[in-house]
Symmetry: C2
Subunit: 315 residues, 2 copies
Amino acid sequence: MSNIEEQNLTEFLLEVKAKMANITLSENEAINEITSYILSNTGKFIRSKIIFLYGSEIGVKKPKLIELASAAELIHLSTLVHDDIIDEADIRRNKPTVVNKWGIKKAILYGDFLYTKTFQALNSLENIAISNELIKCAENLIDGEFNQIEIRNNNTVCIEQYYDVIEKKTAVLFSGILKCIGIEKKLDTHDLELLKQLGLSFGRAFQINDDLSDFNTSEITGKAEFKDLSEGKLTLPVILLFEDSNSNQQDQIFSLIQSGEYETIKKKIIDSDCFKKARIEREKAISNCIEYTERFIKLDKLDNLRVFLKETLVA
Amino acid sequence: MSNIEEQNLTEFLLEVKAKMANITLSENEAINEITSYILSNTGKFIRSKIIFLYGSEIGVKKPKLIELASAAELIHLSTLVHDDIIDEADIRRNKPTVVNKWGIKKAILYGDFLYTKTFQALNSLENIAISNELIKCAENLIDGEFNQIEIRNNNTVCIEQYYDVIEKKTAVLFSGILKCIGIEKKLDTHDLELLKQLGLSFGRAFQINDDLSDFNTSEITGKAEFKDLSEGKLTLPVILLFEDSNSNQQDQIFSLIQSGEYETIKKKIIDSDCFKKARIEREKAISNCIEYTERFIKLDKLDNLRVFLKETLVA
């Protein structure tokens, strides 16, 4: 990205953050205190970056993109507050989670508060097709989390189930925001479908990348190593290891997970080439994503977007 | 109410329930199972009754009233699912709560699911003023619960704080639905303000009545006796008892609450006439409510509405 493009993006993200602060402002100071805390540690704003990069190229005006991005980031944030309760997560992005700092009762209500403010923001977009699309995303995120609890510690999970869960819990919001850009620009059904597919492949790559990072140290990822594994979440490398094992070996893997012997699991994944296989799955998703991207992005901007995708999807 | 009016109301409530089932239908069978459970035990549908009784009189068409009522009931239900987690409540309406039956993780996600479906329903009303009003109600409900946690077991709470909490956690949704009827009928600002005041006084009376019922046996109320007291919620009779006591006596009352000696508290409330005082507060609110009602309801229907208000607000 050129300096001027970098600068535009940085400026955009600051405006999204300001909009989010504005949307979430409450009369209740105790609630504002939590908001300041989480808005000071919002991560990489991947959803906003996508909205900016693709939205600008497709020709959607900046104020609309800011509205969309702030709503998308708020949907994401709302789910994180409750997910951290469900996952019993103490740390997110190197800082204590809301549930860890304020307790479960306030964390539940604070998550509800964020949802409500998000829907208020969607309502003020005054575009029912867009708010419907994003509310549907929220429903899918919740559905995906619900399914994840159901299959947690389940030793019959297969790769199809895995893709079903990550589609809902991660990919759908990416495809939703891209569709919303298309709706805003009044693109036809065919193009909307392509944008949806673009988002789904991006989301798939994004989640596989996140799964792979569960085996990296927390200094790199900002979350504890083996966090997913210890929460009973079956990430792609582990599922591939299962698929590569016979029934006895599967039982053994399960015992190792249950007794917390994560380094042994990691060694098995390396020995059976399952990290490599997971990386191949990620590459497939990235290729799909680039292929769809080529239909929407002008040739001279494609290299920039390729760099962004690689940076975001290959940790 | 005449037989035909009773029959119309019963039919209306069934239609609201059918609409709620329709709105909340999910592709996820595990979610549908919880929905069936809670829709089979939805309580008295007070919000729907108000919408029907006042809405019909003001001249709003039935399909609109059904949409409004189902959205209002769903907002109320969503907050109950999370409130029961926060209050650690095992029983609601004589049946195990969602958190008790499905555990905290699913109860959090299920509450989120209901919120999302509710906002989907609001979105499909295609009336931004109405959805804004009801989303604002949801925000206030959450805010009220948040404040209730803050003042729980707080021995400096006064009657002003009490009215502030119950306005948000109870009264605002009643005033919101009445305002929505007015918005639908395109009433002017003055009338909308009167409907808002009507709802606030109804809500106040409703909550005081609920507070008084904390000292009745569970066979009558469907919830455990002293439920609020044991959760550290300061209900009106207890707050009046505090206001009636000197500092030493207040400390003693607090010790009694903390050690679970609720019968002794009840006796003190009786001896100091604080139940009577609470009932006077309830009467004041009911009188206000009837006064506002007279501005909207035709003379020949007023008696019916008075009966409904007495039945609903005096347990």
